[in-house]
């Protein structure tokens, strides 16, 4: 970790990473204090301004109930940021631990793991998630459970591969000759060297998580109305697309920008964390 901090201090950050971090900073600001940025209450109806196009009073226009789209897009940032984090952290942690374990111990655990991975990746990711949410019932909590139940596989596979590479390194042999305990070798020596691709993948995966959350929201399986969530906003506006496209366009643009922010950050992080040998 100190290596990374020292590198950050010594080198100017690349422009794509700065751009990505700026986009994420906006999202975080909207999450921390939506009231500062949103001109209206995102849930307040205004029957004098139904389906009004973008104007000085409503920069992004209003929906069929007269709710301000700008305010709703800003309010949705909190939900989507939560989705981006939780839908990667839970499967990321679970998968990394499993990958660390099977990579280190190998043998039967690894063989069972391999078959399990084959089984899970046979199904399209989204179909499997939708199936699990359909069984558990719609809602964000169940969505996280479904994403974790499916998504851990990708993290575990990545981590396992890295652990296999690292554990054959001579520095691990040196640690064993020095009599270090297995937990110390796994967590202090292997993990810091194996975690980089997993971290980078996780940040990039956050972009996909937002798309997934929005997709499930759109399908009515994720965040539930009237909660503002970008996918839900798009689903709300789809019937008015030809007459009031602004209801759909602005949350859609928010999804694109958030995804871009995570992707750029992920790429920048990959460069930054590269270890020199």
């Amino acid at each position: 970790m100190r290596a990374v901090l020292a590198r950050i201090a010594s080198r100017p950050l690349p422009a794509p990473l700065l751009g990505g971090l700026a986009l994420l900073a906006v999202m975080v600001a909207f999450t921390v204090s939506p009231g500062t940025f949103a001109p209206y209450d995102p849930l307040a109806f205004d029957y004098n301004a139904l389906l009004s196009p973008p104007s000085a009073a409503h920069l992004f226009g209003t929906d069929q109930f007269g709710r301000d789209i700008l305010s709703r897009t800003i309010a949705a940032a909190a939900v989507d940021l939560q989705i981006a984090l939780f839908a990667t952290i839970f499967p990321g942690l679970l998968g990394s631990l499993i990958g660390l374990f099977v990579g280190w111990y190998g043998g039967v655990a690894d063989a069972v793991f391999g078959r399990l991975v084959d089984l899970v990746v046979t199904f399209p990711f989204l179909v499997l998630v939708i199936a699990i949410v359909a069984i558990l019932g719609p809602g964000l909590a169940n969505m996280y459970i479904a994403v974790t139940a499916v998504g851990w596989v990708f993290y575990a596979r990545l981590m396992r591969g890295e652990v296999l590479v690292q554990k054959s390194g001579e520095y691990v042999a040196a640690a064993r000759v020095l009599g270090y305990s297995t937990p110390r070798i796994i967590f202090r020596h292997i993990l810091p060297n194996a975690v980089r691709p997993v971290l980078v993948y996780a940040v990039t995966d956050m972009a996909l998580a937002i798309l997934l959350g929005s997709s499930l929201g759109y399908l009515g399986l994720g965040a539930q109305p009237p909660t503002a969530e970008w996918g839900v906003l798009i689903a709300d506006g789809k019937n008015f697309f030809t007459t009031a496209p602004w209801i759909v366009l602005f949350p859609g643009a928010a999804i694109v920008l958030a995804g871009l922010g995570f992707s750029l950050t992920g790429d920048g992080l990959a460069d930054l964390l590269e270890v020199r040998r």
Partner: protein, 329 residues
């Protein structure tokens, strides 16, 4: 006097079996990396182990520190059975027997500073009190002739020779009595090799270390070891005092190896050309070692009897043991 005694140690690696092999009931093949090696390491000496690449010397080194568990045999360190050690006793053994690795680039954790690497060894084994760790790290760096500010830097900031010094400092951190050096200089430039070799000699004199020095470089062996064991295809074929053994090698393989050492002086080169050719052919596959003496297919003095039985490592009328039925007196 004996610090480490090795008795009949063997290590085999099972080969992969294809489906056809399994179905036809063929027995599982194994690579015989180390076969029936017996050896003793005396306190304070430098023991060289030489042999061609692939003769099992690195595997043997890894068996000594239990990176590999031998399939047969016993290893005794100061009388205690090393292979039976568990838990704290095993950690204590690790404190006394350390290893220096071949690859100076891969043997250091790239994510830890040199200071952290050394401090970890010191604190895990509680070599010194916690407050004294930074001072001891500086002492260790000084011992291997690295500047004190090396502690804050990462391995990638050092050259190969410097990294090997760090590896040596890490081994020394736990104050071992025996260091096993597995080809510690073969990855380095020749000019750097000399400085590392001299460091080993200096440390041995200063700290009273016992060294097992594994290499394929006969000149290094001649320069720095007291005794030498010659390995061929997993077995020791000859073991004796370095000076005597170089002056009058007894085993035909040792003779061929010593004859193969390149000479710088033209006269010596000329003399060598006029002598018998060095060993010819390739090292046989350790999956299917030749029957009897493993060296007989390449041996200039082989007889039919050589293919009958594995020759024992015995004195055979000389001052040190040799495993060849053609040798007498």
């Amino acid at each position: 006097m004996t610090l480490l005694a090795v008795e009949g140690v063997s290590k085999r690696f099972p080969a992969r079996r294809g489906l056809v092999d399994v179905l036809s009931g063929r027995p599982r093949q194994a690579v015989h990396a180390v076969e029936q090696v017996s050896l003793e390491v005396r306190r304070g000496e430098t023991l060289g182990i030489v042999g061609e690449s692939g003769c099992g010397k690195s595997t043997f080194a890894r068996c000594l520190v239990r990176l590999y568990e031998p399939d047969e045999g016993a290893i005794r360190f100061e009388g205690a059975d090393v292979l039976a050690l568990q838990g704290d006793a095993r950690r204590n053994f690790n404190r006394h027997v350390q290893m220096v690795f071949q690859d100076p680039y891969g043997s250091l954790n790239p994510r830890m500073t040199v200071g952290d690497t050394l401090a970890e060894a010191l604190s895990v084994h509680a070599v010194v009190a916690r407050a004294q760790v930074p001072a001891r790290v500086r002492e260790l760096l000084d011992l291997v002739h690295l500047p004190a500010d090396a502690a804050e830097r990462y391995p990638h900031e050092f050259s190969g020779g410097q990294r090997q010094r760090i590896g040596i400092a890490r081994a020394l951190a736990v104050e071992p009595s025996l260091i096993i050096a597995d080809e510690p200089v073969s990855a380095l430039d020749v000019s750097v090799q000399a400085s590392i070799v001299n460091l080993f000699l200096e440390l041995q004199a200063r700290l009273g270390l016992t060294l097992v020095f594994i290499t394929h470089d006969l000149r290094l062996v001649k320069h720095m070891t007291h005794r030498v064991a010659v390995m061929y295809l997993g077995r020791i074929v000859e073991v004796g005092p370095t000076a005597d053994l170089f002056a009058a090698p007894r085993h035909p393989y040792t003779q061929a190896l010593i004859r193969a050492v390149p000479h710088v002086k033209p006269a010596a080169r000329e003399a060598r050309r006029n002598r018998q050719a060095a060993v010819t052919g390739e090292l046989p596959s350790p999956l299917k070692p030749p029957p009897g003496c493993a060296f007989h297919p390449r041996c200039p003095i082989a007889q039919p009897a050589c293919a009958q039985a594995v020759p024992a490592l015995e004195d055979r009328g000389g001052a040190w043991p040799v495993a060849c039925i053609r040798v007498s007196g």
